[in-house]
Symmetry: C2
Subunit: 244 residues, 2 copies
């Protein structure tokens, strides 16, 4: 019996691609590259810092990943512009069906479990208005480790008092799906890029848009041995799943 729906934030309820407007305005022609490499590095740094035992919060990681990305282009941003770019992660656009889905699930407990720092998550749910649809917004920060370390997922039971088997964890991020399933949650995968669409997009091109590489690396089902229990195409479909 599912007692709580727990959502990943970045890439699941919120579209990380929505920073592209800001990155492209700041560095015309480089927006797509910056958006993708920034996100790829941001995640890498969460994994590497967790493994190294050198935790810094997601705000620091987000800024370090942005600095890395600009450096690969030999671009510089003054402090004001750099802050403006980083702040885009606090104003991400929710997916269009996010609010309506949370409303339709109102008979269940609903929360976020995210890598985001408490400050980033507070800004994100407030700026998007999703705060009124969520019981709790749980940051991994108190454990000083990022997903998919099992200690991060333990926070759900600690904060909501719901056993892992009674949680439906919702994510579009392959590493998060594997981590949540390995931990013991029931898991719903949001598949936003069907494999056939990706293969068609890659085709036999020798050069690819950075977004295509991002879809290939981050938006496909991982081969880590811990697949989702159910796969849906959109958040909206969650509200149509059979009970239990």
């Amino acid at each position: 019996m599912i007692k709580a729906f727990v959502f990943d934030a970045y890439g699941t309820l919120y579209d990380v691609q929505s920073v592209a407007a800001v990155t492209d305005a700041a560095f015309p022609g480089h927006g797509s590259y910056i958006t993708q490499v920034w996100r790829l590095k941001q995640l890498e740094y969460t994994w590497l810092r967790s493994l190294m035992g050198r935790y810094e919060d997601f705000w620091t990681v987000t800024r370090d990943a942005l600095a890395y990305t600009l450096k690969t282009l030999d671009l510089a941003a003054d402090e004001r512009l750099f802050d403006e770019l980083a702040e885009a992660y606090n104003r991400l656009t929710p997916y269009p069906d996010a609010a309506a889905t949370l409303e339709r699930l109102s008979a269940h407990r609903r929360a976020i479990l995210s890598n985001g720092s408490p400050g980033m998550l507070a800004a994100l749910v407030r700026n998007s208005g999703l705060d009124r649809l969520l019981e709790q917004t749980i940051s991994v920060d108190s454990r000083r480790v990022f997903k998919p370390d099992p200690r991060a997922y333990e926070l759900v039971e600690e904060r909501l008092g719901v056993a892992p088997g009674e949680v439906l964890f919702v994510s579009s991020n392959g590493f998060d799906i594997a981590g949540a399933k390995s931990f013991g949650f029931r898991v719903a995968r949001i598949q936003r890029v069907p494999p056939s669409a990706l293969a068609g997009e890659i085709g036999t091109e020798t050069r690819l848009e950075p977004l295509t590489l991002f879809k290939a690396l981050r938006m496909q089902d991982e081969m880590l041995g811990y697949g989702a229990d159910v796969t849906v195409r959109s958040l909206a479909e969650l509200a149509d799943l059979p009970p239990g």
Copy 2:
């Protein structure tokens, strides 16, 4: 005082790009994509499995990453072809200056510390002839965790009896450099792609070769707070470093 030179294998002594001949022969036109995505996923899976506490050895990880990569292209390989592709990681080409550098450093103890499974590493050093130039080839496998987890780096002292501060750890992989430095080694970085060359290669292209993205993601100095003590452009330059 440096008592031992300890080398990373994949990407440092051995060129992971050398699998491209095999990948392109197997799937003409897709070789570059497969080579890069395969390597990117291979590393990701070492980090994610370590974080999840779900270790599988590097041979399994290498095969899973290959299967993932082919799936994104909607390509299939029969068992024989799949094995042939995976085996390419056991016949990687050493960088042209690898053997000569190890020979010039023969006054020092020399070893490999690698994510590779014992079987993969044995094949690699035997196939390339570097086995006769190395005192030990140390696999992380006995610790059931991959770099940059500090437990992996502990194996050097355990196997060579040399304290971390007396080790010069050599790597071209940013995550490995950060992990080794954070652990306590002295660290030499092999910088094979200067930042200016990368920025020039990216330019204002909206589509990039997968190799360019690989250089941007994997071959630059990371912003993790643990930089190398010394940076050189090639293995050969290691033999010219001032003593100590």
